[in-house]
Amino acid sequence: MTGAGWRSRTSRKGERIMNTLWALLHDPNMRWIFISCTLLGLSSGVIGCFSYLRKQSLMGDTLAHAALPGICIAFMLTGTKSILYFLIGAGLAGVVATFGIGLITRHSRIKHDSAMGIVLSGFFGLGIVLLTIVQHGGYGNQAGLDKFLFGQAASMIGSDVLTLSIVSLFLITICYFLFKQFKLVSFDPGFAKGIGYSVGFYEQLLMLLMVVAVVVGIQAVGVILVASLIITPAVSARYWTDRLGVMVAVSGVFGAISGATGAIVSSTASSLPTGPLTVLAATALFVLSLLFGSKRGLLIRRLVQQRMKRRLGFAYEEQAATASVDERINKEAAL
């Protein structure tokens, strides 16, 4: 095969992919799903950084599981599937869950992680029970509520995209303007309090933003997997940088790429679910970061180690060489 032939064939292949993508984005349904998933990934990636750095990654998981009963109750009360009501229901459930965790850790010897485990599974159990009641009870229009378990990106429509865009914009704007506060509260809450920041308020705000990210994320990825959109991009981003600002941006981009990949692959490959594919894409990015990350990746660490070893090795050989020369001189002197 000649080089030119090979090249033209790859470019043809590339063209075909571009054409498919183009066609996909021309289909309005697909376009909505694509944009929604990208925005979702972006905002969860951004907010995830702060929860990761505050060692609260698992809090996202707890909030997601707690959101399920909240969403069910919101649906039972209003009878509509509106993101806004779900957001309120999930938010309230999240507040109750965090309060419950605080209550358990304060008044017993139970550690934070165990308390989260108890609350998370308790709420999830309640959520499943409520979900079953909703499906077998006389609630109309309940179809699709069970999709909250694994997400239902394929059913997203124009108005959902509008809500999602507003929510994502809101999240990112707050993180941009309060970046300084979020940074200091995450790094050194004691010092932050000392200079007059109301640390409690900012912590609550970060928690609220996480609830928002989780609830909109549930739409696409589902209760069980949504935590990975909060945790994985942030952890992956940490492998590429030592600056918080860059980390937040990289994490947002990773989240967006994951969402976009999930949406595209699920629409091309025969009816694979978007949510799990999105999570798989995020996981793949994590593995890449773990291996090739420019700051802490395994490869770069290995290289640095080897370079150090080589340098030390040279120094050692040099020493040995001078030592042998000295020895020879000494011997000659002795003779």
């Binding site: 750095l53 060692k55 303007f177 309060l178 970046f179 300084k180 940074k183 200091l184 995450s186 790094f187 050194d188 004691g190 010092f191 932050a192 309090k193 000392g194 200079i195 007059g196 920041y197 940490r238 940088t241 030592d242 600056r243 918080l244 860059v246 980390m247």
Partner: protein, 270 residues
């Protein structure tokens, strides 16, 4: 350095030099119902280095945190230059214990020092060239100018402590609280820190330091606060740093005093 000059003159006018830098009155604090501080009162004289001494669990850090409002206090009053602490935040600098933060945080030394300026920035204000210049200057003062862009986990314990000190300097305060700045640092850093404290003192600033090493107390501090839940003694170092009061403060832990070479043989024998 015009920045500090102009600032400190305004500070002098604000505080009218009558009110002491710190007046603590009947401070009581508790963790879960068990009091760790009971009725602590003392007044600090301007321009002094004050050492806070006492056994582990005596409430030294708690006293600082309660005075700064980091933990709730059950009762008592803390006045900074005659006014409640909340109104005087900008006059107070704080160096927390080094272990209180995660040094793996994605940030560098310069960035941490710039945090010292956050209290002077507005709600949405962002640190800019001015804050950067101040932070670099403060890093240079603690001998860390070459490490400005170093990721903080790549610094040694002593260097991390110096970064925290530089951050406090960047606060440009008049009264400083330092929680064990000498804990686990190398000799070079200890020397750098004490030189810095002397400089601060010469500038008329007041520094309160939680300290552990009894051997250096007389050398470092003008006044000493002996603390063990209650104030066991407070005053000029030569008046308070005595056998008798130390023994009362540390209770039966004479072995500790012994090791630091302070206990007289006749006292150890009983």
């Amino acid at each position: 350095m015009s920045r500090t000059d102009s600032k400190s003159t305004t500070f002098v006018m604000e505080r009218e030099s009558i009110a002491p830098p710190l007046a603590v009155n009947g401070l009581t604090a508790a963790y879960q119902k068990k009091p760790v501080l009971r009725g602590v009162s003392f007044t600090v004289t301007e321009g002094e280095l004050v050492g806070v001494i006492g056994p582990n669990g005596a409430g030294k850090s708690t006293m600082m945190k309660a005075a700064l409002g980091l933990i709730p206090r059950l009762s008592g009053e803390v006045l900074v230059y005659g006014k409640p602490y909340k109104q005087q935040r900008k006059l107070v600098g704080y160096v927390p214990q080094r272990e209180s933060v995660d040094w793996d945080f994605p940030t560098n030394a310069l960035d941490v020092v710039m945090m010292g300026r956050y209290g002077h920035l507005g709600l949405f204000g962002r640190p800019g060239a001015k804050e950067r210049a101040i932070a670099l200057e403060c890093l240079a003062k603690v001998g860390m100018a070459d490490f400005a862009s170093r990721q903080i986990s790549q610094l040694s314990g002593g260097q991390q402590q110096r970064v925290f000190l530089a951050r406090a300097l960047a606060q440009d305060a008049s009264l400083y609280f330092m929680d064990e700045p000498f804990a686990g640092v190398d000799a070079a850093t200890e020397k750098a820190i004490i030189t810095l404290l002397q400089e601060l003192k010469q500038e008329g600033k007041t520094v309160i330091v939680v300290h552990h090493d009894l051997a250096t107390v007389e050398e470092y501090f003008d006044s000493v606060l002996l603390l063990n839940v209650e104030v066991m003694g407070y005053g000029k170092t030569k008046d308070v740093f005595t056998q008798d009061l130390l023994q009362r403060t540390y209770g039966g832990r004479l072995a500790f005093l012994d090791r630091s070479g302070l206990a007289q043989p006749d006292i150890t024998k009983g």
